[in-house]
């Protein structure tokens, strides 16, 4: 099984474009899994006409207070590290603020009366579906929840189990922007990493941060994909001096074409239509994915 993560730092550089098109290309010959851990706004599935089924809820601890047992001693409210429990003496009540709760269960353990019971709060979901030879796993943060990273980690471990169970040959992971610990986990699980950037000042700046994150990871094959290459006004001098200094020798350029974003915006797999223009770039990415 080969695991390939698609990442890059900045938002909107083309991570999902590369991940969805690569997965589609791989799936023509191999059993391929596509995992979406951009849990704040997962979009990979919009490029495949696929029916997704909610297969799991991701939950975490929430306190349920047994008011008959509670003596209002204030131990839970004094220890809660995120101030999600507040004692209101005048009302003889304890107020629970779900949006501040991290689900650590400290309150459950410190309560001397065992008046706090273990409840469950839904923070996200995992969806799954199949389209032709692609198996799609999507993690989604429930709107209003903050625990994106926990949902990312759960989606990753669920996907790894599934991939082993069903013996997928390729797993492509589409990551969100940024350099969080959830992304780090995906990269450390991967054999290969695709860094997608664009020839802009901000794209290069954010990629530098990503490269520093990669320093701690050993034995990873890395390829850099410069998307929108040729876009007018781009930071080409900066890009070439960055490339000289970054020690990455495997670089692929996806040419800029104003038609591509229009087609992409309609939720289409672009290599199907723009195969000719993009053959070179995607062949190189595909070769990188195949090589041992």
């Amino acid at each position: 099984m080969k695991i390939i993560s698609v990442t890059g730092g900045k938002g909107g550089t083309g991570k999902t474009l590369v991940a969805t098109n690569l997965a589609w290309l791989l799936s023509r010959k191999k059993k391929t899994m596509l995992v979406d851990i951009d849990v704040d706004n997962p979009c990979t599935y919009t490029f495949f006409n696929v029916h997704l089924t909610k297969t799991r809820s991701i939950v975490r601890f929430k306190p349920i207070i047994d008011k008959e047992k509670c003596t209002l001693c204030g131990k839970c409210t004094a220890t809660c590290p995120t101030h999600a429990l507040i004692l209101i003496p005048k009302k003889n009540d304890i107020l629970y603020i779900p949006s501040l709760c991290e689900g650590c269960a400290l309150c459950y353990y410190v309560c001397p009366e065992q008046a706090i019971l273990e409840g469950k709060d839904e923070i996200g979901y995992i969806y799954e579906g199949r389209k032709d030879n692609i198996y799609l796993i999507v993690g989604e943060l429930k709107v209003g929840q903050r625990a994106s990273i926990k949902v990312m980690l759960e989606t990753l471990s669920h996907s790894m189990e599934r991939a082993k169970e069903y013996q997928y040959e390729y797993v492509v992971i589409d990551t969100p922007p940024g350099t969080s610990s959830g992304i780090y986990r995906a990269l450390s699980l991967s054999n290969k990493i695709i860094l997608v950037t664009e020839p802009t000042t901000l794209g290069i700046h954010d990629l530098k941060r990503m490269l520093r994150l990669l320093k701690d990871l050993k034995d990873k094959e890395i390829i850099m994909v410069v998307n929108k290459y040729g876009i007018r006004g781009g930071a080409y001098e900066e890009l070439s001096s960055f490339i000289k200094g970054c020690k990455l020798d495997n670089i692929v350029y996806i040419p800029y074409d104003a038609e591509i974003p229009k087609h992409y915006a309609k939720g289409k797999i672009i290599v199907k239509k723009y195969g000719d223009k993009l053959t070179k770039a995607f062949n190189e990415i595909l070769r990188f994915a195949h090589d041992c």
């Binding site: 706004n41 979009c43 350099t179």
Partner: protein
């Protein structure tokens, strides 16, 4: 009274930093005292859009988390800590529990349940808080989360708190993409939230999710349609389907990228361009009618 404006979007790369940097430049140019906050602590680059750093005013470490320290001489290997940890951040080791730093949230449940008090907590650095004067003479409060870090929401909260001490008319917050922890910390309690949407289904989906979060936080919300001409028919569909006032439509143009490459806000780089006129029109509405 200081007014706080947050710029956010459910999807990355829609133009948050573009709008935030030009809004800061516009307000500064109108003679207002502006402090810009870069709340995208995993990819901070607002200061680049404002010309880069002219001078660092302040820099401090941010201790946003705690990590357990196990005294293996005291540990009796009862493993209650492992049972209690809700984040699966502890593993059985030869001499006692091993802490998996990347999973630990630092909330202290393990220390509380330990019957022999073998676990203590120490503060750890999770990022930096920097205040810099940009080349456009606008102070930028920015955070840089440690690589592979967590708790970005707490750092964002600190950035906003620091900005509020700086005596200004406007605080301009450039949020991280998404709808999670750092975004909620960026938009909670602001006077106005502006969602930047591009005419793609992916961006619209993100905008709907963000709108729902904004509603639950009771934040006054508006939207800007950016790059509307990459798919005008979808842009019109968005205008019909979304339940929020759209302040304006900005076309896509090479000069946006050229301005970034030159590290000059577009309003200064191409002040007579159509995009600049549209931006000023939107910002005037924000300044004169909304705030």
């Amino acid at each position: 009274m200081t007014k706080e404006i947050a710029i956010a979007s459910g999807k990355g790369g829609t133009g948050k930093t573009f709008i935030a940097s030009n809004l800061s430049f516009f307000l500064h140019d109108q003679g207002m005292k502006v402090v810009a906050v870069d709340a995208d602590v995993e990819a901070p680059d607002l200061v680049l859009a404002l010309g880069g750093i002219k001078k660092v005013i302040e820099s401090s470490s941010f201790y946003g988390s705690q990590l357990p320290k196990v005294d293996y001489n005291k540990c009796i290997k009862c493993w209650r800590c492992i049972e209690a940890c809700k984040f699966n951040a502890l593993l059985k080791g030869e001499n006692g529990p091993i802490v998996l730093h990347e999973l630990c949230e630092g909330l202290g449940t393990c220390a509380i349940v330990c019957p022999v008090k073998a676990i203590s907590f120490e503060e750890v650095k999770t990022g930096d808080l920097i205040i810099a004067l940009s080349k456009e003479d606008i102070p930028v409060v920015m955070g840089e989360l440690e690589l592979g870090g967590e708790n970005s929401g707490r750092l964002v909260y600190e950035l906003r708190k620091r900005a509020r001490t700086m005596q200004c008319d406007f605080i301009d917050i450039d949020s991280a993409p998404g709808i999670g922890c750092p975004v909620i910390s960026s938009i909670v309690g602001v006077d106005v939230l502006i969602i930047v949407i591009e005419p793609t289904p992916q961006s619209l989906k993100g905008a709907f999710r963000l709108l729902e979060v904004a509603k639950s936080l009771d934040v006054r919300t508006y939207a800007i349609l950016n790059k509307y001409d990459i798919n005008p028919s979808f842009a019109r569909e968005i205008e019909k389907s979304i339940d929020v006032d759209i302040l304006g439509r900005i076309a896509y143009n090479d000069s946006v990228i050229e301005a970034y490459t030159s590290m000059v806000p577009l309003l200064k780089f191409k002040p007579e361009s159509e995009i600049a006129w549209e931006l000023r029109k939107i910002f005037k509405v924000i300044l004169e009618e909304i705030i």
